[in-house]
Symmetry: C2
Subunit: 396 residues, 2 copies
């Protein structure tokens, strides 16, 4: 079959707030080939992503992304890799390309999986016909304004059945070492001795190792499993330096990686113990799976990064679905209606408290377009009198 159409949709909640909630809007991608339709989602800012899909060519390494996808043959999973390579080469100098490609690549896997009636994780070829391994989801919460509030949040998450909670942002890292220690100890107290504690510093220390190091004793005492993003993601020397001092508290990072190389550099030169990959940013499922293989061979754990719909969640679980040594996963728990209602089925906690992607063809998610049509944003882009993009009709 050949790729007949590639469409991007910008959907958004009526009001988008200035908070760290990635479920407030989305770039939904529909790809059609022959009798089949696949869906994907870019974890990206919608307008620049649409612009990179259709923006006029600047020169031979600045093609619109759609030019390297439309009309392509799609008869094997190798074709997905080949199309992605062409996009990356022909749109090399359009920085937004990797984010646009991500949703398209995911849709190609979904489409191809449906056409051959296989889940994507089986197409990835390492798990035979076995079921994917259940992952322990962690609930993401903001640190409370006070340590007591954090304690209450931790208790609440445990009472909802979570075994792992990640606290981040809020006041953490912004005041004193003692205040941060109080927060971390309160979290541990609220979780009890068996809860899995993860801490996210949200790049608050830039690249300052000494400031980050001053937080380590409390994290070690509270038995935190990881310290996420102490530094901006490019500060590999700071990561590597802190990693030599953090003992059992492993460093985690990688959500911003938009190529597999960026993620591999964090493993090779940043000393991370957990590599966090968003398939909606890194170029899709193929590159994420490559990073999983790379990490696995080096004793680094792979974890998804997901903060939007269950379509994106299924895509983000596929690259490491069958790996029992990579046992954690991010599970967005407070989705806006747009992200929640995009799919009519959802990836819910199993009776053992773990989650796994659907055992169904492609990504295994059923889209409920009627439920989200009200969030569709009308966009029109005209260049030199020619309309390059107008929001297409949202249909299956």
């Amino acid at each position: 079959m050949k790729i007949d159409s590639v469409d991007m949709y910008y959907l958004a909640m009526p009001e988008v707030l200035d908070i760290g909630d990635g479920s407030q809007d989305m770039v939904l991608v529909r790809v059609r080939a022959g009798d089949w339709t696949g869906w994907g989602e870019c974890e990206a800012s919608p307008l620049p992503t649409i612009a990179s899909l259709v923006g006029p060519m600047s020169h031979s390494a600045c093609h619109p992304v759609i030019d390297s996808v439309l009309g392509q043959k799609l008869e094997s999973i190798q074709d997905i890799g080949r199309i992605s390579d062409e996009v990356r080469a022909r749109s090399l100098d359009v920085l937004q390309t990797d984010h646009a490609l991500s949703g398209i690549e995911i849709a190609l896997w979904d489409l191809f999986g449906k056409s051959v009636e296989q889940p994507v994780y089986e197409l990835l070829g390492m798990w035979g016909t076995g079921a994917p391994v259940g992952k322990t989801p962690y609930a993401s919460a903001l640190f409370g304004d006070t340590a007591h509030e954090t304690f209450e949040k931790a208790r609440s998450a445990m009472s909802q059945g979570f075994r792992a909670v990640k606290f981040g942002w809020g006041p953490y890292g912004r005041t004193t070492v003692d205040a941060d220690a109080d927060q971390v100890h309160a979290a541990r107290e609220g979780l009890g001795p068996d809860g899995i504690l993860l801490v996210d510093a949200g790049t608050v220390w830039g690249d300052d190792v000494a400031v980050a190091e001053s937080r380590l004793p409390a994290l070690m005492e509270a038995d935190a499993v990881w310290l996420e993003e102490p530094f901006v993601s490019g500060a590999l020397q700071s990561y590597a330096n802190l990693a030599t001092k953090s003992g059992n508290v492993k460093l985690a990072g990688g959500e911003g990686a938009h190529t597999r190389f960026t993620a591999e550099h964090m493993i090779d030169h940043g000393g991370v113990g957990f590599i966090q990959i968003d398939t909606g940013r890194i170029g899709g499922i193929g590159p994420a799976h490559e990073v999983w293989k790379y990490a696995h061979a080096r004793g680094v754990q792979f974890v998804n990064h997901t903060f939007t719909s269950h379509l994106a969640l299924s895509a983000s679980l596929q690259p490491y679905a069958g790996s029992s040594s990579d046992w954690l996963c991010e599970y967005p728990v407070e989705l806006k209606p747009l992200a929640r209602n995009l799919t009519s089925n959802h990836i819910e906690l199993d009776s053992d408290g773990t989650i796994r992607p659907p055992q169904a063809p492609g990504l295994g998610m059923d889209l409920d377009l009627d439920a989200v049509r009200e969030y569709l944003v009308d966009v029109e882009i005209t260049v030199a009198g020619k309309t390059l993009y107008r929001t297409p009709e949202l249909t299956q």
Copy 2:
């Protein structure tokens, strides 16, 4: 003063060809503050760049770039760094941000330099009031289809007064080791024994070290100064591996770097001997200057990457203008009329065959807007019934 306006203009030749010529279109940036106007250029695909300037917020790390610039105080060069930091933080997850920021940051330096009547290179603070050091420009040429054609091209460049020529792309790396050797030897023959020979492989070998290594003997025999981009820019291990084998032929790369970290990783982990930085991509003059310092301290030579107007050329020379140990520069010689005519003054070869940025306030370039107005592209972007962007009037 406060930043009163930030405007982006998309200009393009009537016909943009599918060739590696970056001078066919441009993103021109005008910033106004108080009585002053500054100009910059993004080395970027215009439509996604404009979209990242104005695209609606997705969440707290996905603001439109303009939101972090408009209304800001601009009273010192520290303010330029502070504004850039805010842009990078508040638009962290908009991948296109670094390219949009680059042109804005360059315009801020131009504006501030004019307001205090100092060239940008003096504001960078390392060269006192001395004149910038002349750089030896290299002419960029494509390898000929035949070795004889390459020989003729080399002779022609030398007869035009160039002391250095870079050959790249064309058939190089795409056929046999012997054919590539013939090309390289022909280039050397055309240049004569004293010409400086640079070779650009244009990432043709992906990350395959063995294939690249097979080209080294000819490059060594022909005394090539550098081998540029044997691999895609993320393939640091391949770079590092080849660097141990390439002897006097240094590796060069970095033009794709959109953060200073990416460039620093090529130095730390890729073993490059030359780091090639485009100020129009890396976030502007400040980050490029940081990379120069980083490279200088490690014995790596800094070289600009420039393939468009002399406004961009001036910006790209500022970060290392006063450094005598970094003696080469890229000098675009076959500009399209748009890029050539944007400025009424030009950076020409001095009597000693070198070039240097103008000894004048800011970037020292005078824009001739009347000469390029015919190339202005009308763009209109409407989101949810609101016009977010319409090509502004092109005025000083």
